[in-house]
């Protein structure tokens, strides 16, 4: 069977970076083709070229054996090519339905083009329900949690009558439940003959959904795996070019007993009708935090960090109560937060890698308030090396890095200092396997140095792999706490879905 879409010899260069070199890709109708590769391998760039966001420097694209030139998103849509970007692109002031159907609103009244509100909302609710997004379709998008926003993006893509659907890391903020729902929808689309290009760093998902995998490395084709050959080891082998040994390393498993009590949170509330949240994190402990989408994990982190106003509650570190009214207070007290949404909260996209890494450590890099640029540069260089940030230089604008590399910069910004409590909100969103294991090692290291670590994650595998203890949230409350011994996927899901605590 001739391929549905076939790209040959694609080249694309950015100033200082050759993102793609002579890349080939073909996909059949009704096929799910996964594209994997390390951060900065060129996956997103390739997808953007297919969807008309970028123009290739060289190479041709054929669809149904006819050469096509896609000059704009609109043209791509005409051809039936739809891309969900790695980063969210939603209009926050419009509601869910408005975003799902943006640009394709059902209308009445002929040339007047009045919006048919009822049809709009009915259709939106239908699609949203299929994906498990049950929030009223009139909710404004900026009120949603990141995961919910990602579902809106997916709903939007699915609602398009596409022939080729490209999903660039659609599940990076989704929990397993939503991912499973998404997969069932994808399977349905597949039976309708729609081709799907799927990018993810969660290799387990790739194993489940992909018919075939194309691996990119350093902007070149690095190999291909067919159904049956797809497994974790083979994928990693092709991506990284070597085998990764221990993935979840907990070398300092045994806690060193310290004379400190760590952080205690008592009766914390940020919503009026909310039972208080109480927990402790001991020094040297890595505590995972699980929960369903919108369970309030991010809000809890924001409240601890002083971004969100708390209504009641007391936080003490090593027995000393601390008053946190703004992030600066939290940082002074030793609480750091690596935020969930890197583009809005984590990075200054228009600024350089160097400045982004140093921004939270400037007082230490200055004398009498004067910046010492050489020290700043040394720090940035060191952190980039440690986290394997792929960038042409530390002067590169962060917005030009690939998604995963941006995330590494956010981590680098905070991990150059030693906190008392480090809160990581989805720290490995969009990060490739190699870097992930590096990050886990770092967390382990920090814990060993006596920091308490709270890691919020939607990736259960990761939670199970690294935590000493897991807190589970459900609908804005703490549903329970599980020790390493009682940690299983079922136990977590039981609590996360509102089941009674068994302990």
């Amino acid at each position: 069977m001739p391929p549905h879409l076939c790209a040959t010899g694609i080249d694309k260069a950015f100033p200082g970076v050759r993102a793609l070199q002579n890349v080939q890709l073909e996909i059949q109708s009704g096929e799910v083709l996964a594209v994997v590769g390390e951060n900065g391998a060129g996956k997103s760039t390739l997808m953007k070229i297919l969807a008309g966001v970028y123009q290739p420097d060289a190479g041709t694209v054929e669809m149904d054996q006819r050469p096509i030139v896609v000059r704009s998103v609109k043209e791509a849509e005409h051809l039936g090519i739809v891309l969900i970007h790695q980063e969210l692109n939603l209009a926050g002031d419009l509601d869910i339905a408005g975003n799902i159907f943006l640009g394709r609103e059902p209308t009445w009244g002929g040339l007047l083009k009045l919006i048919d509100q009822r049809r709009l909302h009915d259709n939106a609710a239908k699609i949203a329900n299929r994906l498990g997004l049950t929030i009223p379709s009139r909710t404004l998008v900026h009120q949603l949690s990141l995961g919910q926003q990602q579902l809106v993006e997916i709903a939007r893509a699915i609602s398009l009558q596409s022939r080729l659907l490209i999903l660039d890391e659609p599940t990076s903020s989704l929990t397993e439940t939503e991912t499973a729902r998404l997969f069932s929808v994808l399977k349905e689309l597949k039976t309708q003959g729609i081709s799907i290009l799927y990018i993810s760093h969660r290799l387990k998902e790739v194993e489940i959904i992909a018919d075939r995998v194309v691996v990119l490395r350093d902007g070149k084709n690095a190999g291909e795996l067919r159904r049956g050959e797809i497994n974790h080891r083979a994928l990693v082998q092709l991506m990284v070019g070597r085998e990764l040994k221990q993935f979840f390393q907990r070398q300092h498993q045994a806690k060193t007993p310290l004379a400190r009590t760590g952080i205690e949170v008592k009766d914390l509330r940020w919503l009026p009708a909310q039972p208080g949240i109480t927990f402790t994190i001991e020094p040297g402990e890595i505590v995972g935090m699980a929960g369903l989408m919108g369970a309030g994990r991010t809000e809890l982190a924001q409240t601890l960090f002083g971004v969100r106003r708390k209504l009641t509650g007391a936080v003490t570190i090593d027995g000393k109560p601390i008053a946190v009214r703004k992030p600066a207070d939290a940082i002074a007290a030793g609480i750091f937060l690596i935020p969930e949404d890197r583009r809005i909260e984590g990075l200054i996209l228009t600024d350089s890698v160097k400045h982004n890494i140093s921004i939270a450590s400037l007082p230490a890099l200055s004398r009498f308030g004067f910046l010492q640029r050489s020290r700043e540069e040394r720090l940035a260089e060191a952190m980039c090396e440690r986290f394997m940030v792929r960038t042409p230089g530390i002067g590169q604008m962060v917005g030009n890095l690939s998604g995963g590399n941006q995330q590494k910069v956010v981590l680098a910004k905070w991990l150059s200092r030693t906190p008392k409590l480090l809160i990581l909100d989805e720290p490995t969103r969009g990060i490739d396997v190699g870097a992930k294991s590096e990050i886990y090692a770092l967390m382990d290291d920090l814990a060993h140095q006596g920091a308490g670590i709270l890691m919020i994650s939607s990736d259960l595998e990761e939670i199970l792999g690294i935590s000493d203890r897991v807190l589970v949230m459900h609908a804005g409350t703490l549903a329970g706490s599980l020790h390493r011994a009682e940690l299983t996927e079922e136990a977590i899901m039981h609590l996360a879905t509102g089941g009674e605590s068994r302990t």
Partner: protein, 328 residues
């Protein structure tokens, strides 16, 4: 809608105060004056509001009003062009100016503030040049038109009827058609709109065209209402009043927010405020102070209600602020 309650309550308060300060037999005549002024000021405010929704801003409104008025009087007085034809030319010029602004902002990627700041200077100068710094004798040739517009229907000024017409059209456009929806989308996240296949450049240009087109209408209304054009003063400060009205009425200059009724209320507040100052015989020099402070109070109330505070919260706000302050 809810967020308009604050300024609507303020508007009502103003109106009650005006009534209190005015003799009863003058109520009718004062009402008529108010409808007239709201009519005239509201038009440019509506245009500015539509543009602000898309995240744009136009500082040149006042100068464009002056320029359009100058063209009109040049055509009518110096070249004896029939008035309807002159009106058409003026409206087209307005639209053209908007198109140029929009082109500069979209295709050349210039900042709206800068482009329209240039317009603020340039069009005022152009108006002076067209009129050659003279006072045109416009009153006589437009006497009939002026009489018509200064008249009333159902004891409401024709100007307000015109505004209401534009308001209905604008409301339908902004809140019920897909075009209006695209305005909001662009103002809220331009890239998202672009990725949704919306012709962002077209709609942004359209917004500038509408804004300047409304300014051209406002210019005509200004001429008809006072039968006079003066290059050095016509339209002065109108951009500030227009933007202030729109913002008072709930538009955010960050874009993506706004509602046409709000713009109307915002304009009305400005007009009533100035009327009240006269009726309460507040010292002339304090007039700007009162306007400034009232704007500020409105903005504070509006923002607080928007953040979900209740009226009761608001009333206890000073105390809370104080506590927050003293705590550290």
């Amino acid at each position: 809608m809810k967020k308009l309650t604050g300024i609507f309550a303020f508007l009502c308060l103003l109106y009650v105060l005006i009534l209190a300060f005015t003799d009863q037999e003058a109520w009718g005549s004062n009402n008529f004056n108010l409808t007239k002024r709201i009519g005239i000021y509201g038009i440019s405010c509506l245009g500015a509001g539509l543009l602000i929704v898309t995240g744009g801003v136009d500082l040149s409104i006042g100068s464009v009003i002056c320029f359009c008025a100058a063209i009109f009087s040049w055509l009518v007085v110096d070249h004896h062009v029939p008035i309807p034809a002159a009106i058409v030319v003026v409206l087209l010029s307005g639209a053209l100016i908007g198109a140029v602004n929009g082109f500069l902002v979209t295709y050349l990627g210039l900042q709206a503030f800068v482009v329209t700041l240039c317009g603020l200077f340039a069009f005022r100068g152009a108006a002076r040049w067209i009129l050659n710094d003279e006072i045109p004798r416009i009153a006589a040739p437009i006497a009939d038109w002026s009489a018509f517009f200064n008249g009333s229907f159902l004891s409401i000024s024709i100007f307000l009827w015109l505004l209401l017409g534009l308001f209905v059209a604008g409301s339908i456009f902004l809140h019920f058609t897909i075009h209006g929806r695209y305005f909001f989308a662009i103002g809220s996240n331009e890239r998202a709109a672009r990725y949704s296949g919306i012709n962002v450049d077209f709609y942004k240009i359209l917004a500038y065209v509408l804004c300047s087109f409304f300014a051209a209408i406002a210019a005509l209304m200004d001429v008809f209402s006072i039968s006079s054009v003066q290059a050095s003063s016509t339209g002065n400060f109108m951009e500030l009043y227009a933007i202030a009205g729109a913002v008072l009425g709930g538009c955010s200059l960050r874009g993506g927010e706004g509602i046409t009724v709000g713009m109307l209320i915002g304009t009305a507040i400005l007009c009533l405020l100035r009327n009240l100052i006269q009726m309460a015989e507040i010292k002339d020099s304090l007039e700007p102070v009162v306007i400034g402070v009232a704007l500020l109070v409105c903005a504070i109330i509006d923002e607080s209600l928007r953040r979900g505070l209740s009226w009761r919260d608001l009333l206890s706000a000073p105390q809370q602020l104080w506590e927050r302050w003293t705590r550290g």
